[in-house]
Every structure is written in structure tokens, then in C-alpha cells.
Subunit: 367 residues, 2 copies
């Protein structure tokens, strides 16, 4: 193999596929980047079995070929090169010779014969949306997946398409996050559970741009994200997702509107008084015009009031402040509306058209 | 005690004195900030015995008094407050009541009776220079102090004043860094060893401004840094500093001038091939117009050449790349000049007027 390309182009490609490099693994291939060059394109591939990424970079091909290189060393070398043309040439012993201006490197590689290529994903069922929208939807739901491998389904997110609506759901036993987005056209219905890790890595490499599209193809076992010159393939999580519809009551006894930033900042201050060893809830007293917040722990105490617009009954209710803050941090609205039933039922933060719904369970408090 | 001040002013003061708060200590006072209020000023004080800091903040005093508060909790609370006026009031039980807009906090404090105040430093001998200059001098020498407590003197820096020259020296057994600066006037001679930790913390709180002065007062045991509304007092290290003058030969057999950035970047790339377990030196071959750099380890190999302007003999010499990089990173000159004698003698990076001298020992290489 003998290729050349600009350092910035190569570095960009390496950064993309590196998201699928296993940091620790007994199998050397999982820590490698494969460079595969045909007569027409230079492809970088990495695959840690859970998630596989390939991307095509621009460059000149003098000789087609293939080599697997240690991802960390290769990436470190390219990063430290001057912003200039990089040449990579391999010999029969799979030594890679990397040159840039007056720097020359020799690093050992392997043939890549036993490299794990990305699984073939049939392109029957798909949806298309902007990269920005997907990135936002992930950011606004990913915080409430579970990290407990014992409840595998909870470590992923439900992606459900009905007509022209995409619904994304995550939950961890204490809360549920739901985002709905309207797609530009209708697609065939789908319902899959995508691993949280895949979504986390994906959102690091897709763009913040409403004009750049991404396509999601699904089969029974896999999901393929295709965008720009890049393909990301991930296994799906198998099993049934939790039935959440029966939990999403529209009934309420107390409803109030509050400035999001004031509410978030106040809860953030209150969280200073929570110790790992002594998890006190933050207690809220909601009356006609104000919410009174109070926390009292061995560290000290805080109380504060915020003006609200309320309908319905007064209520005293306790929450784990982290759960409230996680949801408030990802909502972009200036004012939010919260619906409650009683001190033991979940509260809902939702907007008028239900494009987001955050359900949070309260913590029981002494009466 | 009953005071009020702007959040930003209080936060700024807390950030300054926090540099002298002990992160882990069995003595609660070392983890506290003392607020001491006379009729005329509000003072914040922290002291971890090695280093003590006090700073005066602006505010209104309704009632003089004193309280010691846990530094972390106090700092966290103030940081999370809105940008508004903060009121602090203490009661007879040393509970502190902190208010800001509609937030109210109660946290426990102590009387501060047994607080370690800053030692009194006699103001006989002093020097004065700009905060920026002191900050630069620290940055350009602090990297070569030793972290080995067994050689206590090496964990500090020599500050030596002769007439109107301040010389700052650090060394760790492999290298020596020397910076000389000309002061605006002549001062009484002094020669003290300041703990590296003090200098590190100090350089975080002094300004990047050539117009802001700082004064250094020294006694046999202490150094006092006085600037803006702040005093930093530190113990000095006791003992004789190493005699370095006999090591600073002006003789050389090889002298060359090189572009600093090219040289640094090249060594940085070479350092990728060094493993903790297998410390290979970087080998340089210096001939008339070029320096050829080479490293060859179990990870791979690199070689590169850089144009130089040379006088004197050709030379082959090996270095620990870290020591070269540390010095090159803090030199601001575009081109630097390096002086060498032979493969076993130290090399010198120095400028024409010796305002900086970096001595680095080579590593022996197979002939």
C-alpha cells in the first residue's frame, strides 16, 4: 500500500473511527485502525464488536493495499505532524513507513487479514433526519439511561418511528425521558433499542448542523448510521422495551410554570447539602404564588423561594435534586411547566405539544 | 459579625485565599477560611502552615467579628449564588447565616480563636518587581525543581538579589534552570530558597500585568509577598543552595542555532517512542548544516533532520527528550542557541545576555 493525504484530512478520519477503538482488550485487532485502500478510495475502519465505524478520506493512491495499525500510536504520530502532506507506505513485513516533511517513522503493523469488518446491514428500512436534530435528541435523553448492566434494556434508548414521528425514550427506574420529533416525511414504522454507548460515541462525531443529513437503517440485529463519508454500525439490544404509555397520565392536581434557570440554580445550590452517605431530598412547598424550597442536612441548611404561576392544589413534595437538574439542564425553554398529582406520584415536566416529557419519581418525605 | 459585599468581590477573595487551604488535614483549621472583620475592613485568611494568605475585600460592615468556615462548603455556596449582594451574619453559636436575593443558608462555623494567623514578617529587606515578571520567571524555572522530599533544597528555588539583578535558580540533579532579570532599582542583597509549592500557588493568583507591582520581603525564616490587597507568607527552606557557578562553563566545542518550534515539535514526536519501562534517549547527530535526530525503540523508530547554523565540531549526543522539551516550552525566542562540549558534558541553552540559561545533562549512548 502506498498513499498520501493531507494531515488534517487523515487526522479527522482517525478521530472519527477512534470512537470504535476498544481502550482495553486482549484482542489486538480491537485496538487497531485498519487502513484499506482500493484503487478508488482510502478507508479507515475500527470495530470493537459493539460498535464499528468506517470512514472514507480523500487522498492519492499510488498502490492499493491494507494494513492494521495500533490506533493510539498511529493517532499520536499523525497528531504531532506538521500541517502538511502525509505519505504512508507499507512493505511485505507489514511495517508502515510514515513520512511528512522531514519526519520519517517506522511502526509495525499487521496484515489485517483477521480484522473484524463492519457487518453488512441491509438497506430496507430507514429514516432520515438532520445530524443536529439527532444530536439534540440524544443529548436530551441520554442522561437517564441506566449504567447497570443487570438491566440491559435500560442501558439503551428506544427509537420508535410511527409515520413521520420519531420518539426516543430512556429510563432508569427513577425517571423517564421522552423526546418526539417530527420528521420531514413518513417512513415505515420501526421500533429498536440502541445501546447508549453507541449514541454517546455517535453524538461526538456527527455535526451541529441542521443542513447535514444522517440516515438510520435498521435490521433485526443492527442499526447503521450513514452520514457524510462515514458509516457507524452497532448491535441493537434485544428484548422488549418497557411499556411506558400507562405511566404517562395527563391528569394532575397541581400545575405550575417557573423560570427554568432560577429553578435549576436553586436546586443546584441545595445539592451542596447532600452527602453521599446521607441522601436527603430537597423539599418543595408549592402554594399559590411561590415554591418554597428547603433542605436540611448534617452539613447545614438552605431555604429559598421562587415565584411561580400555579393552578390547582397546594402540595409538599420531595425530590432527589440530581434527577430534577439532569432534566432541567437539557431543556432549552426559558419557562417550564410542571404537573404533579400528589407527594407519591411522579411529576411531569412537559411542554404543550409533548415534544419533550420528563417523568421523575418523588422521594418520600416525613409528613 | 454582620457584613455584606458583592458576590464577585467575595468570590475573588475566596479564590485567592483558597490557595492556602489544606486539602487534607486532620486539623480542621487548616481547611477553613477565617473571616475577620474590624470596623474598617473585611479580611479573609487561610493558612496551611507552609503557606498563609490573607486578602482584604470591599464590603459593608454592620458589626465587627470573626468566624472560621469550612473553605470548601463556603466557597461552593458563594460560587453558586446569583451575581448580587451577599450578606453574612453570625450568631453566638458561630452559625453563619448567608443570604443572597431569596436564598438563605445556615452553616456551622467555629470561633476562629485558635486559628493560625500569618506570622509577622519584619519589613526590612525587600525587592519590588512587576507581577507579570515574577509570574514569567516562575513559569520559566519551576519545571526543574525536584519533587523528591529527600532532597528538600531541590524542592525550592533560589531567589538571589545582587544590586539590581534578581537571579532565580532551580535544579533537580539532571538539569539547572536559571533566569536573571534586571530590577528597576538596586536593593539590598538577599539569598533565600522559596518552596516550589509557594511559587506555584502564588503564580496562580498574581496578575499577568506589567503595571501591577509585587513586593517580596524576606527575613531569616519567611518570605512575604505583598500585592494588591493580598499578603502571601511562606516559610523559607533552610540550608545552603547548591554551588552552581563552577558548572556554568562558557567553553564549548559545538554551538548551533535552531528554530525553537521545529526543534520542540520534532522532539515531541520522538517522545512517542519512549516507554516508561524502556527509556531510550533521543540521539542527535550534529553536522555542519543539519541536526539528525533518531530514536529507535521496541515501539518503532523515527528519524528527522532540521537545518541549523553551526560553529565548531560535529557531535553525536543523546538526551532524555522530556528535559529538552521542558526547557524549550518556556523559552519565548524564535531561534535558540545551544552550546555543547562533548557527549558526556552538559549542554547549555542560553541567550546572548544570559537572561536565561538551561543546563541539561546528556544521556550516555552506545558509541
Amino acid at each position: 500500500m502506498k498513499i498520501s493525504c493531507q494531515k488534517s484530512e487523515l487526522m479527522n478520519g482517525i478521530n472519527i473511527v477512534s470512537k470504535a477503538v476498544s481502550s482495553k482488550s486482549a484482542m489486538p485487532n480491537l485496538q487497531c485502525i485498519l487502513i484499506e485502500t482500493s484503487l478508488s478510495e482510502i478507508k479507515l475502519i475500527a470495530n470493537d464488536i459493539e460498535i464499528g465505524i468506517e470512514t472514507v478520506i480523500e487522498g492519492n493512491i499510488a498502490e492499493a493495499g491494507r494494513i492494521a495499525l495500533d490506533a493510539k500510536l498511529f493517532s499520536d504520530i499523525i497528531r504531532k505532524l506538521p500541517d502538511s502532506e502525509v505519505m504512508i507506505e507499507t512493505n511485505a513485513n507489514y511495517q508502515a513507513n510514515i513520512r511528512c516533511e522531514r519526519s520519517k517513522f517506522n511502526i509495525p503493523g499487521t496484515s489485517g487479514e483477521d480484522f473484524n469488518y463492519l457487518p453488512e446491514v441491509e438497506k430496507n428500512k430507514y429514516i432520515s433526519l438532520s445530524q443536529l436534530t439527532l444530536k439534540e435528541v440524544i443529548r436530551q435523553t441520554i442522561f437517564s439511561i441506566s449504567d447497570q448492566e443487570s438491566a440491559k434494556i435500560m442501558t439503551g434508548e428506544l427509537f420508535e418511528v410511527t409515520g413521520n414521528t420519531l420518539k426516543v425514550v430512556s429510563l432508569d427506574g427513577h425517571r423517564i425521558s421522552i423526546r418526539k420529533v417530527e420528521l420531514k416525511e413518513s417512513f415505515e414504522n420501526m421500533k429498536v433499542i440502541v445501546p447508549g454507548k453507541t449514541l454517546n460515541e455517535l453524538s461526538k462525531i456527527i455535526k451541529d448542523d441542521i443542513d447535514d443529513e444522517i440516515r438510520l437503517y435498521v435490521t433485526d440485529k443492527h442499526i447503521l448510521f450513514e452520514f457524510d463519508n462515514t458509516k457507524v454500525v452497532s448491535r441493537l439490544l434485544e428484548g422488549e422495551f418497557y411499556k411506558i404509555d400507562q405511566m404517562l397520565s395527563n391528569d394532575y392536581e397541581t400545575k405550575f410554570t417557573i423560570n427554568k434557570k432560577e429553578f435549576l440554580d436553586c436546586i443546584d445550590r441545595a445539592s451542596l447539602f447532600i452527602k453521599e452517605s446521607d441522601k436527603k431530598p430537597i423539599i418543595m412547598n408549592i402554594d399559590n404564588n411561590n415554591i418554597y424550597m428547603k433542605i436540611d442536612s448534617s452539613i447545614g441548611s438552605m431555604n429559598e423561594e421562587i415565584e411561580i404561576k400555579k393552578e390547582g392544589k397546594d402540595l409538599k413534595i420531595g425530590f432527589n435534586p440530581k434527577f430534577l437538574m439532569d432534566a432541567l439542564r437539557v431543556i432549552d425553554d426559558e419557562d417550564i411547566t410542571i404537573y404533579m398529582i400528589n407527594a407519591k406520584s411522579p411529576c411531569f415536566i412537559r411542554n404543550e405539544d409533548d415534544s419533550y416529557i420528563y417523568l421523575i419519581l418523588p422521594v418520600s418525605i416525613a409528613a
